[in-house]
């Protein structure tokens, strides 16, 4: 069987599996729809969280980004894992004890204010849409390249699948589909990584291969790659070019943003007890770290392979994958010096670079560059789709519950009954799928970059409000609302200014303190903390019942009963 037949078979089989699970786990109540009935086991929740979390950006773009960024790519590795420590220690157990359905639910109750609830709803929708656009774009890329359909048709197929299981099953359908999707995506990521590690370093464990010796040359792999880089005029792979301060700020924005992303937080509402919430963050990070410690190895293997297989090769003799990716426009060759050979060189080289490779294709092209069997290539396509669809579904649920639960039930139309609320949730999920699809067809930028901004927005809005809500009883509604508004406004304004209003000025010389738009969320978060703390001291302290509520969520006992009592 050829690559396309394998791809078609594996993608179709995985889709059939997801639909089967969706039919089996239909939601029959709002509790099913919002928190999967609250009875998910910590291990299953850990897997579902890992799939929810690892998006098209993690699966498709991240190793590619690291491949081109070298050490600077560490911001994604540490940033997208370190947040789980904050989540486990500072958020998940307490939010689980509180036992709400959504993040705005907690914010609205803790800050005894409909305004705080509405601000949280707006932040949740804004963050989630920013993020979901990247997922749909990822779906389009995979379909476009592997099944050779138009990117828009690919996005359409992805929308239909997500529509089916998110609208039908809500959180319950999403949770069990995500468990399956985790298995598909981790298998799809590990198989080519193991093949590559064996080929290049002779050890089957990519994490060890990365620190091993390149078999062909007998030189340590990282040293060899640094050597190739020096030869071709790129900076050393294991050292960065970004300023230390910027790396620090970007990492912090991604970490804190991770802990503040509503679609991640709500996953910990689905387990029965506080201690389950704690351990399931541990499982989630363990499952995530499997991919995240493999990705830097894949990045180095891919980088070495790419340089070895295209540098100074005559254009007439390029391998088949090269021309195929050229057709998608994601790989371009321009023979600047007219010698018919590909010169792939860096900024420090006297020659002109002639090859432009889009970061998004590295993981997808990797198995082909390495000449791996056809079924592996098909598997990677299915894995990329699993990653994109699982995250998209989690985000769509946040958007739909923000509308049906926080906006309608808790704010505008408290008189609706459960059946009507469930219908509203389904309609909202459906509308959200269509809007997300529109963004996928008209993408605002490449996947990882768009997603990176969502973190800055989450870091500067939710994180301080939730942390202070738990750890500082003195925090008032005025403080929290002004903090969230100032944090997200500042961060969004900085990002929009440098990326859309005045992109020409988007360079280190013009950034505040040299902090890039990707890292500005950290400053936004500090601003949010400062505003919240100061305003809270200047306004009347929260009512006694709210302070009692804070006392209550600080102690685990009683969470199980709370879930029994609900609904």
């Amino acid at each position: 069987m050829n690559v396309q037949a394998w791809t078609f078979l594996l993608v179709a089989a995985s889709f059939a599996l997801y639909i089967g699970i969706a039919v089996w786990s239909r939601a029959s109540s709002t509790k099913d729809f919002y928190v999967a009935g609250g009875g998910v086991s910590p291990l299953a929740n850990g897997m579902a969280t890992a799939a929810d979390w690892m998006s098209a950006a993690s699966f498709i773009s991240m190793a590619g980004l690291i491949s081109f960024m070298g050490y600077d790519g560490s911001v994604y590795l540490m940033g997208w894992t370190g947040g789980y420590v904050l989540l486990a220690l500072l958020l998940a157990p307490y939010l689980r004890k509180y036992g709400a359905f959504t993040v705005p639910d907690f914010v609205g109750d803790r800050y005894y204010s409909q305004l705080a609830r509405i601000v949280a709803v707006v932040c949740a929708i804004f963050v989630s849409f920013t993020y979901v656009a990247g997922q749909m774009r990822g779906v389009g890329i995979v379909f476009g390249r592997f099944l050779e359909v138009d990117i828009n048709v690919g996005v359409g197929i992805g929308m239909a699948i997500v529509f089916f299981y998110a609208v039908l099953g809500g959180m319950k359908g999403i949770t069990y589909t995500q468990v399956a999707q985790y298995c598909v995506l981790i298998f799809a990521f590990m198989v080519p990584a193991i093949f590559l590690s064996l080929m290049i370093t002779g050890t089957p464990i990519p994490q060890f291969g990365l620190g091993g010796v390149e078999q062909a040359s007998g030189i340590p792999l990282l040293e060899r790659l640094n050597g190739l880089h020096a030869e071709l005029g790129f900076g050393p792979y294991t050292s960065g070019t970004k300023s230390t301060l910027d790396v620090f700020f970007i990492t912090a924005a991604l970490m804190v943003g991770t802990a503040g992303l509503p679609h991640v937080i709500i996953r910990f509402y689905t387990v029965p007890r506080v201690r389950d919430a704690r351990i399931s963050v541990g499982w989630a990070l363990l499952f995530i770290s499997l991919l995240y410690t493999t990705a830097p190895a894949v990045a180095v293997f891919a980088r070495t392979n790419l340089i070895n297989s295209v540098q100074d090769v005559p254009y007439s003799q390029v391998p088949e994958w090269f021309t195929k990716w050229e057709d998608t426009g994601l790989l371009t060759f321009e023979d600047a010096n007219g010698d018919g050979r590909i010169q792939y060189v860096g900024p420090d080289s006297p020659m002109t670079n002639e090859l432009t490779v889009d970061r998004d294709i590295m993981v997808l092209a990797n198995p082909e560059i390495a000449n791996l069997p056809a079924w592996v290539i098909g598997l990677v396509a299915a894995g990329g789709l699993a990653a994109a669809l699982s995250t998209a579904a989690g985000l769509l649920l946040v958007i739909s519950s923000a509308v049906s639960h926080d906006l309608l039930k808790r704010s505008l139309m408290p008189e609706i009954n459960e059946k009507q609320e469930l219908l509203a949730a389904r309609i909202a999920a459906g509308v959200a799928v269509i809007v997300a699809g529109y963004f996928g067809m008209n993408p605002p930028g490449f996947v990882a970059q768009v997603v990176a901004f969502a973190f800055g927005l989450a870091a500067s809005s939710f994180f301080p409000a939730i942390i202070l809500g738990i750890f500082s009883k003195r925090t008032t509604r005025e403080g929290a609302v002004l903090g969230m508004v100032s944090g997200i406004t500042f961060t969004a304004a900085y990002i929009v200014y440098f990326n859309f209003v005045n992109p020409a000025a988007n360079s280190a010389a013009n950034w505040w303190f040299g902090i890039s738009p990707e890292g500005i969320g950290t400053l936004g978060m500090l601003l949010n903390f400062a505003v919240t703390l100061v305003v809270s001291r200047l306004t009347p302290e929260p009512p006694a019942e709210v302070q009692g509520l804070v006392d209550l969520i600080r102690v685990p006992r009683g969470a199980g009963e709370a879930h029994e009592l609900s609904m």
């Binding site: 370190g82 486990a88 005894y112 620190g211 704690r278 541990g282 770290s289 209550l552 600080r554 009592l565």
Partner: protein, 109 residues
């Protein structure tokens, strides 16, 4: 508060706890904060210090038995392993603390 929370809090639990219970809970919270503080210091050291601030300096060394420059290893491998370990340590110590202060959820709830 504009309306009572319907999912989170059982009825009547917002009334003032017994003074002894309150003191015990305050001590529990103090111990919890201390544990969080220690773990977050480790979290900060492995990522922000070893992986970022001192990464370039640590790159002068290699991780024993491998060919990893040390700062690069912390940033792309070591910090992540440390995060996983930190969470499992937290879970263990926190569950113990819950039992010590008799605020755990029991096995059957």
């Amino acid at each position: 508060m504009t309306e009572p929370t319907n999912q989170g809090v059982p009825d009547g639990s917002l009334s003032m706890p017994h003074p002894d219970t309150a003191a015990r809970h305050a001590e529990y919270w103090r111990r919890n904060i201390r544990l969080l503080g220690i773990l977050l210091v480790v979290w900060f050291v492995v990522s922000y210090l070893c992986g970022i601030v001192f990464a370039e300096a640590l790159n002068a060394f290699t991780l024993p038995f491998t060919n990893f420059p040390l700062g690069f290893w912390f940033a792309q491998q070591g910090a992540i392993y440390a995060f996983v370990i930190l969470i499992f340590v937290y879970v263990k110590l926190m569950n113990d603390l819950d039992r010590e202060f008799d605020v755990d959820e029991g096995a059957s709830s």
